[in-house]
Symmetry: C2
Subunit: 204 residues, 2 copies
């Protein structure tokens, strides 16, 4: 299959979005970018997002960071919100990835960033019911402790919902934000991979 699009995948925790996204990229022979690759890219550019996230309580350490982010973003303003600054940096990195050519980008509101920039992309949302997600999360963390799994799911869900709603002004999980939304619990991972590839290669 041939295609010239950027594919963004937003996903619920435990719905297999990472696995599905990796396979789509592999099978189409295009790069796959997730949070880890985004952090590594930021680090290469002189920013260590993970470190900054941990150290954000120490204002003195952040001064230099704000200035460098402001310069990177081409602005001259002062940033007083760590999350906003990191989000802006992620936007810049997402646009860099997308401009290199077809790829799969996971999470980080890439769908909205690319749409706002007028870059052609296929925006996919992958979700699943709680039972499928709980089983998957249990496998991921090697636990059968239901309370632990439930707490982790709630925490991650809330975090992703809040992040998306805050930075996009749109409602998380509303199908209108995406071109294609898939229940990986009902459809299965293999079929999700096939449907995304078909949609990406054949969309008008």
């Amino acid at each position: 299959m041939e295609m010239n699009k950027v594919i963004t995948i937003s996903r619920e925790f435990g719905a297999g979005g990472h696995t599905i996204g990796t396979r789509v990229a592999q099978e189409l022979g295009i790069p796959f970018y997730d949070k880890d690759i985004m952090r590594a890219t930021a680090r290469e550019s002189g920013f260590d997002i993970e470190l900054i996230e941990k150290e954000q309580e120490d204002e003195s350490k952040l001064d230099q960071f704000w200035k460098s982010i402001a310069a990177y973003s081409g602005g001259s303003g002062n940033y007083h919100d760590t999350q906003k600054a990191i989000h802006d940096l992620q936007k810049a990195i997402i646009l860099e990835f997308a401009q290199k050519g077809p790829c799969v980008i996971l999470g980080r509101c890439a769908d909205v960033t690319l749409r706002q920039a007028g870059i052609e992309c296929l925006n996919v949302f992958v979700y699943a019911d709680d039972v499928h997600r709980a089983v998957r999360v249990g496998e991921m963390i090697g636990s059968t402790n239901a309370t632990q799994i439930q707490k982790l799911m709630s925490k991650k869900d809330a975090s992703r919902h809040n992040y998306y709603n805050h930075f996009t002004g749109q409602r998380w999980g509303d199908s209108h934000n995406y071109d294609l939304s898939l229940d990986s619990g009902v459809l299965g991972y293999d079929l999700c991979v096939e449907l995304i590839k078909k949609a990406a290669c054949e969309a008008e």
Copy 2:
């Protein structure tokens, strides 16, 4: 392709759900049921929904209808809400259709009715942006009057949203209510038909 599922299609006005659903049914060689067929079936059973909808202001004419609906639904209660009674009749008809075998059922909250009844089905939502829908609605009603098109879209959207939210308690357009949600404006009708067929035939 072979498959043994009922496919339900919920759709926004002007998003082409009727066309897409008809084609899926034709290409899979299974029956297609829409509102008109549902009304005809109700009429064969002694109920004229369209007539009832028109005459609902005349309470005396409705008395017999309530009684017959209550009998049809196996209940003995009194119905004071026309829409609720019609909805219950539609539910009964939807279950009849689904029990006959694989088919495509359009609208009328068929997704929720079948899920509640434990009947295996693929639930699809078809939507599109306002521009694609406006062009389609203009074609449907043979008009280029933007105000007329906009008013009709708003009216139909509100009606479907309210109907779905009222009778299902779920949020219209939330991808979690469906197994597959498709933006027919981005993907095009042909691809929507192909994706639905593939999902219906290959889902686990």
